[in-house]
């Protein structure tokens, strides 16, 4: 195995083999400088553990992947060094039957209870564990008076199914834990054996509100694996779609924030902006939610630049008027300030991404990784308070930036077109900044060019773990929907 220490190379993705005895030391070292973006396993002759680390330094961003074959079926307790790894440790146990060395209790995260019964039960990506996870939960007492009640999965009108366990001593939220396994569709399992182009159909539908971002990440992973270069005009077309996706999601988040605070007038104003943006998407790319735009090797269609130039000012005007009115409405702002606070330390420890992380002061954005259509001159909006209001203002700043970027990309020219992907084996990492944060995908292709292992990591899969902490910071029940709206995640993206 290599004696070279894994190091981040600015602007690139570098992969290092790390032998399992050295893994703990390497993780300790990398965790001081890099962000643990993802951790997953893949089967082969032995199960290989991969960790994806992100270097968020402005102007030099890149990724490091460490690969460790696990001959003994155990690996060191990485979540003690990097708490951001805990959810993935639980997931790896459920899918591969492999657990960290100390035998610490793990939660059920992806698969439903008793997924192994009756045999054969649910298909897993590897070898199913013999015993169920033991459930690690925070202690439930606050002066001995706390109680716990389950909430969901069927919830209020028009929202996804989600099960919370809410632990409370009355009004105050002591703990909040989520179960998303009732929305687990086995996406990573389904992608095995598909070609990258076929995979995009399901990848977009992992989390439909991030269809462009996740489609781009999967396509980019396949392109990296096969050494395919996407023409710049097609890259810019993808970027236009990604920014339109960001705009409509931020409008929808604004509407959800208004709904959660009971401000129906604001909600209606935001919904008018949202509807105009969705109709713009349909005119620009043929689908209100931008499905089917990203293709393996490029884009299936170029945007209708005339339609965008004609409709975007009006649609964004609605958005801005609603946002400005909200920022002048004190009763609304009172509900947002100091609600759902996440400190920079908490956001960093959990490896959070997107507007949630940026509002807590962590400046990182997957768009600024060199090599894509975005330059790195563009400012990344951040906040310091880490509360709902900070997240809202970060989203507003991002929306303004998106409008500017769309204009720039259209001026530089966009075109449809797909480069053919050669049928070769290989592995590759792809990424895109979804409206919720960095979306990652990693694929391994066999010699026939078909996927043998696909890893999907939408931003929701990373950010839900911050929701518990945000709800716990001196909040009451009625704050929970407000905090949920400010995160603007999906259950589908976590459950996959």
């Amino acid at each position: 195995m290599t004696a070279v220490e894994p190091k981040a190379v600015p602007g690139e993705v570098t992969t290092f083999q790390v032998a399992s005895p050295h893994l703990e030391a390497v993780v300790r070292d990398l965790a001081t400088e890099l962000r643990l973006a993802d951790m997953f396993a893949a089967d082969g002759d032995t199960t290989t553990l991969r960790l994806v680390w992100a270097n968020d330094t402005a102007g030099q961003a890149g990724y490091v992947i460490t690969e460790t074959p696990l001959e003994t079926g155990v690996y060191p307790q990485l979540s003690d060094i990097a708490p951001a790894a805990f959810v993935e440790e639980c997931e790896i146990y459920e899918q591969f039957g492999i657990r960290p060395a100390t035998g610490k209790a793990l939660n059920r995260v992806m698969l439903p209870p008793h997924a192994g019964l009756p045999p054969p039960g649910l298909p897993t990506l590897g070898h199913r564990p013999e015993t169920e996870p033991e459930e690690a939960r925070a202690a439930h007492t606050v002066g001995g008076q706390a109680f716990e009640f389950p909430f969901g999965p069927v919830r209020q009108v028009g929202v996804e199914s989600l099960y919370y366990g809410l632990v409370t001593s009355g009004e105050e939220v002591v703990d909040l834990y989520l179960f998303t396994w009732h929305k687990h569709r086995g996406l990573e399992w389904r992608l095995q054996g598909t070609t990258p182009q076929q995979a995009l159909f399901l990848a977009e539908r992992t989390e439909g509100l991030s269809a462009v971002a996740l489609g781009w990440a999967v396509a980019a992973a396949a392109e990296a694996a096969t050494g395919t270069w996407v023409p710049e005009a097609a890259q810019r077309a993808r970027a236009v779609a990604l920014e339109l996706e960001r705009l409509y999601n931020h409008a929808a988040a604004m509407a959800a924030l208004c709904q959660s605070t009971g401000l129906t007038v604001g909600q209606s104003a935001a919904e008018i902006a949202l509807e105009r943006l969705l109709r713009l998407n349909a005119q620009a790319f043929g689908h209100r939610y931008l499905f089917g735009v990203v293709a393996a090797g490029g884009v299936s269609r170029a945007p209708d630049a005339d339609a965008i130039r004609a409709l975007l000012p009006g649609a964004y005007g609605e958005f801005k008027r609603a946002a400005d009115a909200l920022l002048g409405t004190n009763s609304f702002l009172d509900r947002l300030e100091a609600t759902g606070v996440l400190s920079a330390g908490q956001a960093k420890a959990l490896g959070l991404v997107g507007p949630v992380a940026r509002a807590s002061g962590l400046a990182a954005d997957a768009r600024w990784v060199p090599g894509g259509p975005y330059g790195n001159e563009t400012a990344v909006a951040t906040g310091t308070a880490g509360d709902v209001l900070a997240r809202f203002t970060v989203m507003l700043a991002e929306a303004a930036e998106s409008v500017r970027l769309i204009g720039e990309f259209l001026d530089a020219g966009t075109a449809a077109g797909t480069a053919d992907l050669p049928r070769t084996s290989g592995t590759g990492l792809g990424w895109a900044e979804s409206p919720r944060g960095e979306a990652l995908a990693w694929v391994e292709l066999g010699r026939d060019g078909r996927i043998t292992r696909a890893r999907l990591r939408p931003a929701s899969a990373r950010n839900w773990r911050g929701f518990d902490d945000a709800c716990r910071s001196q909040n009451v029940f009625t704050d929970i929907p407000i905090i949920e709206a400010s995160f603007w995640l999906t259950v589908a993206g976590m459950a996959r």
Binding site: V157, W181, K183, R185, I272, L274, F291, A492
Partner: protein, 164 residues
């Protein structure tokens, strides 16, 4: 009951004011966004006498998205059972109608595998206009069209007797 009598009964019971409960059996979240927009200013389902309700006891119609993930089926059944009759079940979107995900260990693949569906609305996602049409069909106020749409540019050729 004849078809006309049935339509009349439905229109009488539900035609003027109908309460809708939503149910997500595993969607990608986009169908939910289109459903939420039914209450938004551009569509305003309230003007047509439709209302959303969070309480199953108050609901007349269950609007169901997603491919009926097996791990969710019990919750789906409980939600349906909690609604008092008469009630209508509407399956929304390609996933709910059997597309995208097949009948396999994770998903039933279609809502009608677990719940008795009365109206099916195709789309991925069905736009709010398509949803309004579907709700109108559900209460007998709008006519169904798709039966008479051949989806061919030319008329179907005449078939001679004896063709399989």
């Amino acid at each position: 009951m004849t078809e006309d009598e049935l339509r009349e009964t439905i229109a009488r019971q539900f035609g003027r004011s109908l309460h809708i409960r939503t149910l997500d059996t595993g969607s990608c979240a986009v169908c939910e966004q289109e459903i939420r927009l039914l209450a938004a200013p551009h569509y305003d389902l309230n003007r047509l006498g439709f209302f959303f309700t969070p309480a199953p006891r108050h609901a007349d119609l269950l609007l169901v998205t997603g491919p009926m993930i097996r791990a969710f089926a019990v919750a789906a059944r409980k939600t349906y059972d909690a609604m008092p009759g008469p009630k209508i079940v509407v399956a929304v979107g390609a996933c709910a109608l059997g597309g995208v995900y097949p009948d396999d260990p994770f998903t039933h693949g279609a809502v009608d595998a677990v719940l008795p569906v009365d109206v099916w609305i195709p789309g991925c996602p069905p736009s709010p206009l398509a949803l309004l049409h579907g709700l109108g069909v559900a209460v007998g106020r709008l006519a169904e069209k798709v039966r008479d749409v051949p989806f061919t540019e030319e008329p179907y050729p005449e078939r001679t007797r004896g063709d399989s």
